[in-house]
Symmetry: C2
Subunit: 350 residues, 2 copies
């Protein structure tokens, strides 16, 4: 297969971890006779520094015209702590999601047996947990009108949803549930928010097409609790943008490290793959960042293009690295392996 892949290394540890994902993909291409062409482009704080804008026209055009995008991470504390900054790295990411129409962000959560002890949760709570979060990615308060009055004393964010936006991701989530344990949990705050009531109504309607899937509802406050009390109860979780942001980061604790979790963001035409962790600027350049999430993101990319065998080889190689304890210090505080060594081990194993 020929694939043209746009690579956006981004900020902080992004470039280091993405390099390992590329290595894995190169190894796959060689062994299985594919041709993967990578083209790097600027996004995030690094793009602001070099071009004044977090998502240069050129980057966007590249992404629109490739088969897939592989993203590292974006974000820089110099923007976070300056509430007056007019240009911020996150704007680039949000614009990219919107322009590529990446409405569904998919985050599978499943602890590795060999890492059960790394979780802050007890073994009996997490052993056997296996669920996927479908987070809506191009709507809600992320994209609604924002206001700040002239005196800077009154601000607002508008959260909006339409039936159409909810319907399209609901179908994806129900289809996934059909291939899994046939349970879908909608997380919302329907006792308070109008948008949540719309979610509940629309998802109920969509569910009529999937009579084999059991649908239930959970308020987001309760869901935040249930994820920790009893994560095994979940199969597919469907939720809106901001709730999905919060819950999927929270759910990462089940696996012991956010450095293990990849995500896929899908639209009608485009697809983007990335680790769910952030740019972790404190670790930049130290060869300590965990590359596994990025490598798994590359695995999800292969899966997306129907290269199931190849994807499974990547997943198996990561599993081996974990079993052999070739992991970074987030998983083994006294580890002597760094970002590079873990990436090297995985690609050698392919």
């Amino acid at each position: 297969m020929n694939l043209k892949i746009a690579v956006l290394p981004g900020d902080g540890i992004g470039p280091e971890v993405i390099l390992q994902a590329k290595k894995a993909l190169y190894a796959i291409a060689e062994v299985y006779n594919h041709e993967f062409v990578f083209e790097d482009a600027l996004m995030g704080a690094v793009a602001i520094d070099k071009t004044g804008t977090p998502l240069p026209e050129q980057t966007l055009n590249l992404c629109l015209n490739t088969d897939a995008v592989l993203l590292g991470a974006i974000g820089d504390p110099k923007y976070d702590n300056n509430p007056n900054a007019k240009v911020r790295p996150e704007q680039g990411l949000l614009k990219l999601r919107k322009e590529l129409g990446l409405f569904a962000n998919i985050r599978p959560i499943k602890p590795y047996k060999a890492l059960i002890e790394s979780s802050p949760l007890k073994r009996e709570i997490i052993e056997g947990a296996d669920f996927t979060i479908f987070r809506e990615l191009t709507g809600g308060a992320y994209f609604g009108t924002k206001t700040l009055n002239e005196e800077g004393t009154h601000a607002s964010d508008l959260c909006e949803y339409t039936e159409e936006e909810i319907t399209r991701i609901a179908h994806l989530a129900f289809k996934s549930a059909q291939n899994r344990r046939k349970k879908l949990t909608l997380v919302d705050k329907a006792n308070v928010l109008e948008t949540s009531r719309l979610w509940r109504k629309v998802v109920q309607k969509v569910s009529e097409n999937y009579p084999d899937v059991v649908l239930d509802f959970l308020f987001v406050d309760n869901a935040a609790m249930q994820l920790i009390l009893n994560p095994k109860q979940f199969d597919v979780i469907l939720t809106e943008n901001l709730f999905g942001d919060i819950l999927s980061d929270e759910a990462s604790v089940i696996t012991g490290s956010i450095g293990l979790l990849p995500s896929a963001s899908l639209g009608e035409k485009n697809a983007l793959f990335e680790p769910i962790h952030g740019s972790y600027p404190q670790a930049k350049g130290k060869n300590i960042a965990n590359p596994i999430a990025s490598i798994l993101a590359a695995g999800m990319l292969l899966e997306h293009f129907g290269l199931t065998k190849e994807a499974n080889v990547v997943f198996a190689a990561v599993k081996k690295a974990i079993e052999y304890k070739v992991v970074t210090i987030d998983l083994k505080p006294d580890s002597k392996f760094g970002t590079n060594e873990v990436g090297e081990f995985v690609s050698n194993f392919i």
Copy 2:
């Protein structure tokens, strides 16, 4: 001291648990020579059933003219699963918070030594954790304009904040931090939301009055993760309404049961005390609901009126019940003690 207390038992298990809180307050009044006058009133689904509205005029007037309000819980699944219901129990609670001006909801989180094993988190993660969440309670998306178009295909919720709303709760939170370990963490999503950027700016400004308190910032997605990875890092957490709702329920897992956590909601003139758990309708009338959160809410009420000694007696009695394992089944699956027995034990101990 003479106190007039409005009691709103509410729905589900509300009446059962509130009864135990009243018993504790009666015991305190007797032993310490106070006069507490209780007046019960309707709120929630029970009020809708009897009067057509979740917060009858009479209830509101009573609450406005008493020293404090003691609330059970509200909510009923028959409203939750009907996105078209025009009247809902939660509207009563939200209106009450707004009318009483209860802008600060305070939720202390601290595990009991005797219950360390009940938490899904490992002992070493939670032992020594001790923090308080300050949740803004009368602003944000809870109270902003909501819209639903006529076809029912487009909904919106507006999240708004003003400098004044942020300033007043920030002062309370900083003062609390001064009396604790002098650290305040603002949780927001300033990389995306305009309201969050206003929070960051205003809280930074308020912090200048509290040079002895260290201020730091955390994005809400990261906070949801950090609460579980390392809860000991927190002292005072300050956040907006919806984030506070999610994070404080999540934080309840640290203590092992949401049935243990009380909260105080304070305004300029009024104060309300309640367990943080909901109405838990499945448990209604079964004498299995944990009354401890409600009893502790009564303890917070005493503390609020400067009855520190009495409050400590209540807290000590609860601690004894826990040490002697006189607890409900959420804490000890084979417990033979019910709501009544736990309440009885506590008030006898006073």
